[in-house]
C-alpha cells in the first residue's frame, strides 16, 4: 500500500515538473519567435492511401520552415466527409488553411464555400510569384481547378489518367509484338480478335467501376461529349453519333466474344492470372498490377480514334486555401508551393500513384527523373498530361443520380440488349428530365 502511495506521489511530482518545464519551454519559444504561424492541412489520405506520405511531407516542411507549424488532419470518408467537416468548421469560425478538394466537388466548392482565392493571395502577399501558375502548369491542367464560371479556386495537386495495360506474354503467344501495342481503337479491336483466335484468351476489358470516367475518355476522344450547354443550362451531351459510335466499339468487342463484360474485380483478377490480354483502367492501379502480376505488366497510351485528339478526364484532387488572416494566408501559400515543388510531388507520386500536375517534375533530378526512367509505364501515363480534361460532373441535386443512369446504360449496351445509339438516346432523355 505504502509503495503505491509513494508511486502516485512520484508520478504527480513528475507530471508537475513536466508541466512546469513545458510552460517554460513554450514561453521561451514564443519570446524567440513571436510570429510562429500555425496552419492546418486537411487531407483524405488514410494510412493505406498515401497517409504516411502526407505525414512525411508535413514533417519535412515544418523542419525547413521554423516560422510555420503545419498540423495535418485526416478526414475520413473522402471528399464528402471532408466537405461536411469543412462546412461545420466554417460555421463555427474555425476554418482549416489548406484543403484537398476532389475534382468532382469543384463547382460545389466554388459556389458554396468561402475560400481564399490563390491568384488574389499571390498579387497581394507574394507578388514575386506572379507568373508561378502560368510558368509551372499546363493550361489544361490549370483548368482542372477552374470552375464553370472561370474562377481559379485552387491548384491541381493529384492527377490520374486512364491507360491501356497489356500482358506481353499473351501478345507473344498470339504472334503480336509487345513493343507495338495498339494505338487506335480499330487496332484494339483487331488485337483483341487476334488474341482470342490464336490463344483462346479473352482480349479486352474496360473498367466498369461505379462511374463513367473511362467511358468519358472513350466518348470524348471520338469528339463526343458527356455534358453540353444549351441556353445556359447543362444537358446530357452524349446522344450524338460520335458518342454512340465510340461506345459501340466496346459493345461489338463484347458481342463478338473478344471483349469482357464483368465486374472490375473479376476482370482485374483474370488479367493478373494471365487470362485476359488488355485492360483499360487508371494509372492508379499501376503499382498494384506490377506487384501482383506473374508477368511484366506493360502500359500503353489510352488508344485514340483515327485522326482525332485524345481527351482524358483527370481523377484526383486540387489544393484550396481557406485562411482569412493575411499571415496565415501567406504561410498557407508557402505550404502549397512546397507541396507543389518537384521533390514533394515526387514523394507524393511514389506514395500514391498519382501523376504530378506540374511541368518538368519528370525531368527534374530532384523530382521523378530516376523513377520515371526506370518505370516505362509511369512515363506513358505522364506523356498524356497535355490531353487531360475535366471529369464531367452532372450539376444539381440529382447530379449523382444522373451519373448512375449513365452507369446503368453501360450494362444495357454491353449486354447487347440495345444498340449504343438507342440506349444513349433514352438515357439522355432520362437524365435531362432529372437535371
Amino acid at each position: 500500500m505504502k509503495k503505491i502511495t509513494q508511486l502516485v506521489v512520484l508520478l504527480c511530482i513528475g507530471a508537475f515538473t513536466i508541466l512546469a518545464l513545458g510552460c517554460g519551454n513554450s514561453q521561451n519559444t514564443s519570446s524567440k519567435t513571436p510570429s510562429k504561424v500555425m496552419i492546418e492541412y486537411w487531407h483524405v489520405n488514410a494510412e493505406s492511401f498515401g497517409g504516411p506520405s502526407v505525414k512525411q511531407l508535413v514533417e519535412q516542411f515544418n523542419k525547413e520552415n521554423p516560422d510555420i507549424e503545419v498540423v495535418e488532419k485526416y478526414n475520413p470518408d473522402m471528399y464528402k466527409g471532408l466537405t461536411q467537416n469543412l462546412q461545420a468548421a466554417m460555421a463555427s469560425g474555425k476554418n482549416p488553411d489548406v484543403v484537398q478538394m476532389g475534382y468532382s466537388y469543384l463547382n460545389y466548392a466554388g459556389e458554396n464555400l468561402k475560400y481564399a482565392s490563390i491568384p488574389d493571395i499571390i498579387t497581394k502577399l507574394s507578388p514575386e510569384d506572379n507568373s508561378y501558375l502560368q510558368d509551372n502548369f499546363l493550361p489544361n491542367v490549370l483548368a482542372l481547378a477552374t470552375t464553370d464560371d472561370g474562377k481559379q479556386i485552387g491548384i491541381p495537386y493529384s492527377v490520374s489518367v486512364p491507360v491501356l495495360y497489356y500482358n506481353p506474354d499473351v501478345f507473344k503467344q498470339a504472334g503480336l509484338d509487345p513493343n507495338q501495342p495498339p494505338r487506335t481503337w480499330q487496332e484494339v479491336t483487331q488485337y483483341a480478335k487476334t488474341i482470342k483466335e490464336k490463344t483462346g484468351i479473352m482480349g479486352f476489358f474496360m473498367q466498369e467501376y461505379a462511374d463513367n470516367w473511362a467511358q468519358q475518355a472513350l466518348i470524348e476522344s471520338n469528339g463526343g461529349q458527356i455534358l453540353a450547354k444549351k441556353d445556359g443550362r447543362t444537358m446530357a451531351g452524349f446522344d450524338t453519333p460520335e458518342a454512340s459510335e465510340a461506345y459501340q466499339v466496346l459493345a461489338d468487342m463484347v458481342k463478338n466474344g473478344n471483349g469482357l463484360h464483368a465486374t472490375n474485380e473479376e476482370a482485374f483478377q483474370a488479367f493478373l492470372s494471365g487470362k485476359l490480354g488488355m485492360v483499360c483502367t487508371t494509372i492508379g492501379k499501376r503499382d498494384n498490377f506490377e506487384k501482383s502480376a506473374k508477368f511484366t505488366v506493360m502500359a500503353a497510351q489510352f488508344p485514340s480514334f483515327e485522326g482525332k485528339t485524345r481527351r482524358l478526364p483527370a481523377g484526383g484532387n486540387l489544393l484550396m486555401i481557406f485562411s482569412q488572416d493575411p499571415d496565415k494566408q501567406k504561410a498557407a501559400w508557402r505550404f502549397v508551393k512546397f507541396l507543389e515543388s518537384p521533390g514533394a510531388l515526387a514523394l507524393w507520386s511514389k506514395g500514391t500513384g498519382y501523376l504530378p500536375p506540374r511541368k518538368g517534375v519528370t525531368e527534374d533530378p530532384q523530382g521523378l527523373k530516376d523513377f520515371a526512367e526506370q518505370n516505362k509505364n509511369m512515363q506513358v501515363a505522364m506523356s498524356q498530361m497535355p490531353e487531360v480534361v475535366k471529369w464531367a460532373s452532372f450539376p444539381g441535386a440529382n447530379g449523382l443520380q444522373a451519373e448512375q443512369a449513365l452507369i446503368d446504360v453501360r450494362d444495357i449496351i454491353l449486354s447487347g440488349k440495345q444498340s449504343a445509339a438507342d440506349a444513349l438516346k433514352q438515357a439522355a432523355a432520362k437524365i435531362n428530365s432529372m437535371l
Binding site: K80, N112, A262, E265
Partner: protein
C-alpha cells in the same frame, strides 16, 4: 400497488430508454428527413412536402425494385428455409450415424463474414479464371457472366447470403425436430406410416412454431444481409438488376446523397415489413401449434 408499478418502471427503464433513443427517435427523424431535400453536406435543408414520395411512386424504378425484392425473397426462402427444413428432418430422424458431423459441417460456413463469402464467390465464379469456369469449359460449356445477367445475379447473391444464414437456420430447425416426441414417431412407425405421412402429419405440425420463426427471420434479416454482397460486388447493377428495397435506401442516401428520397424509401420499406408482420400475425400464427 404504487410501489410495484414504480419498481417495474425502474426495471423497464434501461430497455425502454435505449429502444426509444436508438430505434424510435431515428425513426421519427427519418420521417422528418423524408419531407426535406438535403445532400448531407449543405448547411440548409429545404422543405419539399410530399415531393419525395410522389417522385418515388411515379418512377418506374419502384416496380423494378419491388419485383427484385420478391425474387430475392423467393430465392432466400428456398435456400434458407425450405432446404434447411428438409435437411434438418433428415439429420434428426433419418440419419443413424454421423449426425453430429453433418450438423457441424453445415454450420461452420455461417461463422464466416458475408464480405469474405462475397469475395469467395467472386473468385469461384470468375467467368475467365474461376474454378467453376474451368470445370464448365472442360465439359464444353461457356461460363455465364454471373454478376452481369439480371435474374441470375439475384440467385447468386441469394446463394452468398445462404452461405451465411443456412447453417444457423439449420441448427434452429434441427433443435425443433429433435424435440418432436420419440413416442409419437415410434407409434407411427408401428402403424407402418410412410415417411411422407410422418413428415406431413407429425413433423410439420410439431415444428411449426420454430419453422415460422425461421421463416420470418429468413425474410426480414435475409433482405438486410443483401446490402453487403450487393455493395461489394454489383452496386445494384447490372442496370439496377440486383437492387432491392434495402440497397436502394443505401444508394439514395450514401451514393446519391439525396437523404430525402432515401428516407422516403426507408419509410416505404418499413411499411412493407410491417404489412408482412401483420399478415404473419393474423394468418400464419393461427396455423401454428405452440406447445404452451
Amino acid at each position: 400497488m404504487s410501489r410495484f408499478t414504480w419498481q417495474s418502471v425502474l426495471f423497464l427503464a434501461p430497455a425502454v430508454i435505449t429502444l426509444l433513443l436508438f430505434a424510435y427517435w431515428p425513426l421519427l427523424q427519418d420521417v422528418w428527413l423524408s419531407f426535406h431535400s438535403w445532400n448531407m453536406v449543405s448547411p440548409t435543408m429545404k422543405f419539399v412536402g410530399l415531393q419525395n414520395y410522389l417522385q418515388l411512386l411515379s418512377s418506374g424504378e419502384l416496380i423494378k425494385i419491388l419485383l427484385n425484392t420478391i425474387l430475392y425473397i423467393l430465392v432466400l426462402v428456398c435456400v434458407n428455409f425450405i432446404l434447411p427444413y428438409l435437411l434438418s428432418f433428415i439429420i434428426a430422424h433419418r440419419l443413424n450415424r454421423f449426425s453430429f458431423f453433418y450438423r457441424s459441417a453445415l454450420f461452420i460456413p455461417s461463422t464466416v463474414s458475408l464480405a469474405v463469402a462475397s469475395i469467395l464467390f467472386l473468385w469461384i465464379l470468375n467467368p475467365l479464371a474461376g474454378p467453376l469456369n474451368i470445370i464448365l469449359s472442360a465439359i464444353g460449356l461457356e461460363s455465364p457472366r454471373w454478376f452481369k445477367e439480371s435474374g441470375l445475379v439475384i440467385i447468386i447473391i441469394g446463394l452468398i447470403i445462404g452461405w451465411k444464414v443456412f447453417g444457423y437456420n439449420l441448427i434452429l430447425l434441427v433443435a425443433a425436430m429433435v424435440d418432436v416426441p420419440k413416442e409419437l414417431i415410434e407409434a407411427a412407425r408401428l402403424e407402418n406410416v410412410s415417411n411422407w405421412q410422418l413428415f406431413r402429419r407429425i413433423i410439420v405440425p410439431m415444428t411449426s412454431s420454430t419453422a415460422l420463426y425461421v421463416f420470418v427471420i429468413t425474410v426480414v434479416f435475409g433482405l438486410q444481409y443483401v446490402l453487403v454482397p450487393v455493395n461489394m460486388l454489383t452496386q445494384g447493377g447490372p442496370d439496377q438488376g440486383s437492387t432491392n428495397l434495402v440497397y436502394i435506401v443505401y444508394q439514395y442516401g450514401f451514393v446519391f446523397f439525396q437523404t430525402g428520397k432515401a428516407s422516403a424509401f426507408a419509410i416505404v420499406t418499413m411499411l412493407l415489413y410491417a404489412l408482412f408482420l401483420i399478415v404473419k400475425t393474423k394468418v400464419l400464427d393461427k396455423k401454428v401449434h405452440y406447445e404452451n
